[in-house]
């Protein structure tokens, strides 16, 4: 399998140095943590996140004004260690406290828990918001309960905007939880991904087969099916998401068609076209539609569909300015 890498073991380190060279972010010495250039930001609650590498632009792609203050990168598909998360919390805290946005995977949850405890012992106020938007599974290879997947981006955006407004830690956490309560996601794969260390596909998928209900680690999905058309796949994902979210006619949503890293944008737009027509048929109004590679699984082909129920507060926060490498919202 051909990859544009040097040493498999140096992938994360070299990627982070490349990001620092491209964006207004810096790396904390001796760690795999990137932070905004200007942290700690006076008078502002810090919002941080982190997880395994391989999901780019998640997480460091969302560092910047209006979103994240810090992003910790673990090894590929492996949680960052608690001491690195602790350093990130210490470096970003401006005295107003820190909200950690955590995806619900066992390693991530335990390491963030431990880091929060370490930072608390140093007198820092730390709160956590655990994202669990995946409707495909209750428990999986890596989780108790539902996994946190692409819906996490909405949590970053809304919590980041709330913090930028000058809200206190409790208010920022409340907004994060409001997003978590109102967002659902389901994903699928056309191919497996190839991790740098392993160098071969994580799972085998026949030419005419797809995996439904995948997470973001190249782990197999909940169901293997025969290849379908884009419209049929979109219907399957969207129906599962909508039946779990229980939307009423007339409600407003923001949608996200997220690419897994190996799917062209043209195909994601084809999925979005069908998604919007399904919502339209149900009398659900789309306030905004996001399409692109927001949370990937290396080179996996496939996509996920997320739907977020919005009210006036969430619309305002989603529309608030943000300036990050992967997402910019103009004033």
């Amino acid at each position: 399998m051909k990859k544009l890498i040097n040493e498999p073991s140096a992938v994360v380190d070299e990627m982070l140095d490349g990001m620092v060279a491209a964006h207004p972010v810096r790396r904390l010495d001796g760690t795999n943590v990137l932070v905004r250039d200007d942290v700690p930001v006076d008078g502002k609650v810090a919002v941080v996140s982190g997880g395994g590498s391989g999901h780019e632009p998640t997480h460091a792609g969302y560092l910047g004004e209006g979103m994240l203050d810090g992003a910790a990168a673990g090894e590929v598909f492996t949680s960052p260690t608690a001491d690195q998360l602790d350093e990130m919390i210490q470096a970003t805290d401006a005295g107003e406290g820190v909200l950690c946005v955590v995806k619900n995977y066992e390693g991530d949850v335990m390491n963030f828990d431990t880091a929060a405890e370490m930072a608390s012992m140093e007198g820092i106020d730390v709160e956590q918001a655990v994202v669990n938007d995946d409707v495909a599974v209750e428990d999986s290879l890596y989780t108790s309960g539902r996994r946190g997947v692409a819906g996490t981006i909405f949590v970053h955006k809304c919590a980041g905007a709330k913090a930028a407004e000058g809200a206190d830690l409790a208010e920022v956490k409340e907004v994060a939880e409001k997003v978590i309560d109102n967002v659902r996601t389901m994903g699928m794969a056309l191919t497996s991904c190839v991790t740098p260390e392993k160098g071969e596909p994580t799972f085998d998928l026949g030419e005419d087969e797809i995996e439904l209900g995948i997470g973001i680690h190249g782990e197999p999905g909940t169901e293997r099916a025969d290849m379908m058309s884009a419209d049929e796949i979109t219907e399957h994902l969207t129906e599962n998401v909508l039946s779990d979210l229980d939307l009423d006619e007339g409600e407003e949503v923001v949608t996200l068609v997220n690419g897994m890293g190996g799917t062209p944008l043209s195909e994601l737009y084809i999925v979005n076209r069908k998604l919007q027509s399904i919502l339209d048929d149900r009398g659900i109004e789309t306030w905004d539609a996001w399409v692109g590679d927001y949370m990937t699984s290396l080179d996996m082909m496939g996509c996920s569909v997320s739907v977020l129920r919005v009210d006036d507060e969430l619309k305002e926060l989603l529309g608030a300015p943000a300036e990050t490498p992967a997402l910019t919202v103009a004033e």
Binding site: T81, A82, D113, T114, E117
Partner: protein, 232 residues
């Protein structure tokens, strides 16, 4: 126990003993883990405690509770995965109970705080086929032996090790409900849990160290049934 220096020496010796034991058992723990997990438990535990034992000089001026806390943070940064937070984070958290030194009373508080944190963080209960299956009987036995039966700490610890050993045996027929092995469902039945096993090894080395530091032989009457194991 005696003065701060002696307590610190005891902690450092315990650390050395645990590190040496886990290095010795690395292959065995990994074999257990390859049957029902991802085959890294032996290497991870050996690496974590090995790194901590390497820091003996850096720990030489610290109070005993500070040493224990730093062992915890060293495990967190070197063990990785879920075991880092479970073993290291829980040790770090429980170290607060030793601020006034190591006594029968504070060691019970330490053990209980450690157990609570492991259960809280991992979400496992007795019967989930995890380290909790060894820890719960050990901690409960230790607490009861000291607080209700008024036994000397050394005897209490020996009874706790026995209880942990039975807990480890108890994991063999269980179906895993937590952690990576739970994905195997019924296929996990018949295998001994690696986390419960490493927990037993750590307790055995704590007992071996305590025997060097605490006066008096283990009270064999209060410790019936233990002789066979200790003569192995």
């Amino acid at each position: 126990m005696a003065d701060v220096e002696t307590q610190r020496d005891a902690v450092l010796d315990a650390l050395d003993n645990v590190a040496a034991r886990l290095a010795e058992e690395k292959g065995y723990l990994t074999d257990l883990d390859s049957a029902i997990g991802d085959a890294d438990h032996g290497a991870n535990m050996q690496r974590g405690f090995g790194e901590a034992a390497e820091k003996r000089e850096a720990f030489a001026e610290m109070d005993p509770d500070e040493v224990v806390k730093n062992v915890g943070t060293t495990l967190i940064s070197n063990v990785g995965g879920a075991s880092g937070p479970l073993y290291g984070g829980s040790i770090m958290f429980a170290s607060q109970e030793l601020e006034d030194g190591i006594t029968a009373e504070t060691s019970v508080a330490f053990a209980e705080a450690y157990l609570d944190k492991v259960k809280d963080r991992g979400g496992a209960e007795v019967g989930s086929k995890t380290m909790v299956d060894a820890l719960v009987p050990a901690v409960h036995t230790y607490k009861k032996s000291i607080e209700q039966d008024d036994l000397p700490p050394l005897t209490a610890l020996a009874k706790a090790v026995d209880a942990a050993e039975r807990g480890v045996e108890f994991t063999v027929p269980l179906k895993a409900l937590k952690g990576r092995s739970s994905f195997l469902d019924w296929r996990s039945v018949g295998h001994q849990d690696p986390g419960a096993t490493s927990t037993l090894f750590i307790l055995e080395e704590l007992l071996a160290t305590a025997e060097e530091y605490l006066d008096g032989a283990i009270d064999r009457d209060a410790h019936a049934g233990d002789a066979a194991r200790r003569d192995e």
